[in-house]
């Protein structure tokens, strides 16, 4: 198998080839490092990676190959490489959260999911780009430059986890870790034609994920197939005594659910409020196609209503900045990160902190901190944060009522396909609207999966289909997702990414740029 064909395989196929000895992990890792070198750098490169961890990845790969040669029993995904969203702390690689305030910071500890990745002996290819502190829906708010959508280099890869989604879509990595607070795994998945899952809140430990909104944040898998996502969630999930909100449920049965292969007799609910008005026609068309396929496969499609979802976006934009304003208070230039001194006297700690935060945070981060500070401040708490937490209860009740009637819910993942870079950067509100369909799952803590639903008629760009299940029923989204994926791929004659344009090499340009920098 050629290296270019190899990197287009699913993680499950890569794992099988490693197990059979057809390929080595070193070959597999090197093929991905070569791909990164080929397409990630330069002016028109994807720029999915903020840091490439070549040396360690190859060392881990060599170790896996040696162990396999010695017939040691290894994890199913041992030797399969993975990319890590740079919001998750890693020993030995810088962690920046795409913020200047953390430039060059090396964590002295590993996130729990990283410990699990290491235990499974999955080589880490590097750290992927994101909106600063995961605040954004386009990865344009990174302090280290934008990431491009492999489907159209002038479009956003979604956000905040645009780096992880683009890396997987551009075959720079078969798997990646993302974090999802309001849709940051699912929305980039939708606009890049990849798969992404936000697990049930607490199913995957948050320890070591730099917090944005603690009650909403969740780490989850990013991949090209539903089965791959299931395999990865089984690696990273499970109880963690270091996270008080971690569930004790084992993270098993997900891959089995993805392999089950039938939806006959299942009831699937279409959320009235999450499609139709405000959704792009091409998105709506692909969504209806998926409904038809599921119906043909024996599922019963019914419409359900979640009337309180109209408040979900508002509640989210109160809870998220409130918690974020508190979580980001620790970035003050005292214990870690960069310190900036004020340009004038006096040089008191208060002023140094304020100057540090002014220089270290980007506009969107500041906007959310100020909004959150406002929502929590004396006299406003009840009207804002308190009300938003009550809306959260209403959204949960809507889901409860819906899941009393159906097994899973379905909707488009995003109202539109990828928009052009720069198009909404100055319009925070319209940017926030992109998360309209993904936010309810975060408010309620339930699992949500996005998978590619085809290409929109008007622009030929990927459309995402979202599946939602009750809390702790993550297996259901994998079961239905895998069936829909196979029905769609049969229809398309292969994975949707086969239809993505080939990426031109930017390697020469990137090399030249590095040489120029070194010359300076």
């Amino acid at each position: 198998m050629s290296a270019s064909a190899l990197i287009r395989s699913s993680a499950a196929v890569m794992a099988a080839k490693l197990a059979s000895g057809e390929i080595t992990s070193v070959e597999l890792v090197q093929a991905h490092l070569d791909r990164i070198a080929e397409v990630d750098g330069g002016e028109r490169g994807i720029h999915a990676f903020l840091h490439v961890n070549a040396e360690e990845a190859l060392a881990v790969a060599a170790d896996v190959d040696a162990r396999r040669a010695a017939s040691e029993e290894l994890h199913e995904l041992a030797g399969v490489p993975i990319a890590i969203k740079d919001l998750i702390v890693t020993k030995g690689q810088p962690t920046t959260a795409a913020s200047k305030i953390l430039e060059g910071w090396m964590s002295p500890y590993d996130a729990t999911v990283i410990k699990k990745i290491r235990a499974a002996r999955m080589p880490m290819l590097g750290k992927t780009n994101l909106d600063e502190f995961a605040m954004g829906s386009s990865t344009e708010h990174s302090a280290y430059g934008i990431t491009r959508n492999p489907w159209d280099l002038d479009r956003i890869p979604g956000g905040s986890g645009g780096g992880s989604a683009a890396a997987v879509a551009a075959f720079e990595a078969p798997l990646a870790l993302g974090t999802d607070t309001g849709g940051s795994i699912r929305q980039p998945g939708a606009v890049t034609g990849t798969v992404g899952v936000k697990p049930t809140y607490g199913a995957v430990s948050r320890y070591g994920a730099i917090a944005m909104a603690s009650s909403l944040d969740q780490i989850g898998p990013v991949s090209r197939t539903v089965l791959d996502a299931a395999l990865l969630q089984e690696v990273i999930g499970g109880h963690d005594p270091l996270d008080s909100t971690s569930l004790t449920d084992p993270s098993t049965g997900l891959a089995d659910a993805a392999r089950l292969g039938n939806v006959a007799g299942m009831k699937i609910g279409v959320v009235k409020e999450l499609h139709g008005e405000g959704f792009q026609a091409g998105v709506e068309n692909r969504f209806n196609e998926s409904l038809d396929l599921l119906r043909e496969a024996g599922a019963e499609i019914v419409e359900v209503s979640c009337p309180n979802f109209k408040y979900a976006l508002g509640a989210y934009y109160l809870i998220m900045p409130s918690e974020a304003s508190s979580n980001l208070a620790k970035f003050d230039g005292v214990r870690f990160g960069n310190r900036t001194l004020p340009t004038d006297a006096p040089l008191t700690i208060e002023r140094v902190m304020a100057a540090t935060r002014a220089a270290g945070f980007g506009d969107e981060v500041k906007r959310r901190i100020i909004l959150g500070t406002y929502a929590l401040s004396a006299g406003y708490y009840d009207a804002y944060y308190g009300s938003a937490q009550r809306v959260r209860t209403l959204v949960q009740r809507d889901f409860e009522a819906a899941f009393a009637q159906v097994d899973v819910l379905i909707s488009p993942t995003t109202p539109t396909t990828a928009f052009k870079l720069g198009e909404k950067i100055d319009d925070p509100l319209s940017m926030y609207l992109l998360d309209i369909a993904t936010i309810p799952a975060n408010l309620a803590g339930i699992p949500g999966l996005t998978l590619p639903g085809g290409l929109a008629d008007e622009d030929g760009l990927p459309v995402g289909i979202q599946l939602l299940a009750p809390a702790r029923e993550d297996a259901r989204v994998y079961r239905v997702g895998a069936v829909l994926e196979s029905l769609l791929e049969t229809k398309w004659g292969g994975p949707i990414l086969d239809q993505a344009p080939a990426l031109a090499s930017t390697a020469d340009e990137a090399t030249a740029k590095i040489a120029a920098e070194e010359a300076n």
């Binding site: 998750i88 962690t95 214990r335």
Partner: protein, 502 residues
């Protein structure tokens, strides 16, 4: 010196009625911190007892220490509080370099303990009923050392150094309701209240309760109002007062200062104050810009604590006898007068005397040794009597040796020397130093004959009926025997030798 004008305490009390309130922070002596498994140890090398959680590094999460929760419930029960069936944590937000996350994880709406009371007995027996508003769990901050500048104080410092070893140490903050009616006893009450809290948490075993180490710290709220006025005056909060005497003095000073300010027609500024031991005065605290708005909200990284009745009762069953009740019982058992008992309490020797009595000494003997010879030596050595190195068992053994006539009081002190010099148990010291009373009548008789021969005129006086002169001969015999004779027996033998009835 303070540049504040103050009124005399008497004049202040003549004009104004003081209202008090206390927030006492108690550091728990758990093995680990409130929200992380890093060790809770005092006095180690800076930043050596921290992990990523105590430093508030990016990505960390807290996990509640169960022992700290149980200790908090015990404190609540000892203070007659209700234990909340459902209690939550909250974030209190303010930026300060000793606070790693720039918020303190504390409790706000639902403290674990609330609505309690404690009766405080002043030295003359007057009892004040103090109501407890709440006792909640939270975490301590790191320690700042101010460098540069003349005083080591925050004022005029060039920079500060931060040690986060204390960051995250479990705290229980005990908050009183407002205390009215203390009048001129206010400073005394303040001291007695803090002493009582310290005694309770020490007795519970949940805190080392050393004020000099900051294990127990008091924020004292003081306000004044004209007599007869119902509305409270504006209060000040004097922060982190860390000795009993300082609590008393700080309350007294604030009453005097407030009175002077009010007298001059100026309003009291609601603010925090700092107590200065050197000048015995308070100064205005640093103006804290966030002070008006802590933006509390429920801690999303922690889940509620639910206390079942069974759990609370299980803890209640482990409560030791309350200190005040114990004191009453011990005084009655020992038969000490009020004054004797108060002296024992003030000397901090109640525990030692109790152990000594339990080990077999009489209450009188235990008091005699601990309050006498041991206390005297401790004072000379500038240590606590309990730390001198005399165990209750030593006292019991010495007392037995005296009772059996093997040694006398004078020898006993030499035995104590030997014990303190590490020569072994009292019995071993007696043997090693040859300190036993000379009880061989033959040996004594020759010493007596020698003494009588040396003072024939005295011997004559005694024969003539002046029995009280026998003391001089006894002294001579004691001198010859280097004190190792039983004086009573010597007297008996002298009189017998001279043929005189005693």
């Amino acid at each position: 010196m303070s540049n504040e004008t103050i009124l005399s305490f008497e004049e202040a009390l003549e004009k104004y009625d003081p209202v008090l309130g206390f927030e006492v922070h108690v550091e728990l002596n758990t093995k680990t911190k409130m929200f992380s498994s890093a060790p809770n140890v005092f006095g180690d090398e800076p930043n050596s007892n921290v992990n990523e959680v105590c430093l508030g590094l990016p990505g960390v999460l807290p996990v509640v220490n169960k022992k700290a929760v149980e200790s908090s419930i015990l404190i609540g029960l000892a203070l007659n509080c209700k234990i909340a069936p459902h209690s939550t944590f909250a974030r209190k937000q303010y930026f300060y370099p000793d606070t790693p996350k720039n918020f303190q994880t504390s409790q706000y709406d639902d403290p674990i303990c609330y609505d309690g009371w404690i009766d405080i007995e002043l030295e003359d027996g007057t009892v004040f009923h103090v109501e407890i508003e709440r006792a909640h769990m939270e975490e301590d901050a790191g320690k700042l050392t101010h460098m540069g500048g003349a005083t080591g104080r925050i004022q005029g410092a060039d920079y500060s150094l931060v040690d986060y070893n204390r960051s995250g140490v479990p705290l229980v903050e005990i908050v009183t309701k407002t205390i009215e009616g203390a009048g001129s006893r206010a400073p005394e009450l303040a001291k007695a209240y803090v002493a009582a809290i310290r005694e309770i948490v020490k007795n519970l075993g949940v805190s080392d309760a050393k004020m000099e180490r900051g294990n127990v710290r008091c924020d004292a709220n003081v306000s004044l109002r004209p007599y007869g006025q119902e509305k409270f005056g504006t209060r000040t909060e004097t922060k982190n007062v860390n000795s009993l005497r300082a609590v008393e003095n700080a309350v007294k000073f604030e009453i005097q200062r407030h009175a002077a300010v009010l007298d001059s027609g100026v309003l009291i500024t609601q603010e925090t104050r700092h107590w200065h031991e050197d000048t015995k005065s308070t100064t205005s605290g640093r103006p804290k810009s966030d002070a008006d708005d802590y933006r509390y909200f429920p801690e999303p990284d922690l889940v509620p604590i639910v206390t079942s009745a069974a759990w609370v009762e299980e803890l209640r069953a482990t409560l030791p006898e309350p200190p005040a009740e114990r004191r009453k019982r011990l005084q009655a058992d020992w038969g000490y007068t009020d004054m004797e008992f108060r002296d024992v309490v003030n000397a901090g020797l109640m525990d030692e005397i109790e152990e000594t009595v339990t080990a077999g000494a009489t209450a009188a003997a235990a008091r005699k040794w601990w309050m006498g010879e041991i206390a005297r030596r401790a004072k000379l050595a500038d240590v606590d009597p309990a730390a001198l190195g005399v165990s209750p068992a030593v006292v019991v053994e010495i007392e037995k040796l005296i009772a059996s006539g093997a040694i006398n009081d004078k020898l006993a002190r030499k035995v104590l020397d030997g014990v303190l010099e590490g020569e072994g148990t009292p019995t071993e010291v007696v043997a090693k130093r040859g300190l036993a009373v000379v009880s061989d009548d033959g040996a004594l008789q020759s010493a007596i004959d020698e003494a009588l021969a040396a003072q024939p005129d005295v011997a004559e006086k005694i024969r003539g009926g002046k029995v009280q002169a026998v003391g001089a001969i006894v002294g001579g015999v004691m001198k010859v025997t280097r004190g190792q004779a039983d004086a009573a027996r010597v007297r008996e033998l002298i009189l017998k030798t001279l043929g005189v009835e005693g």
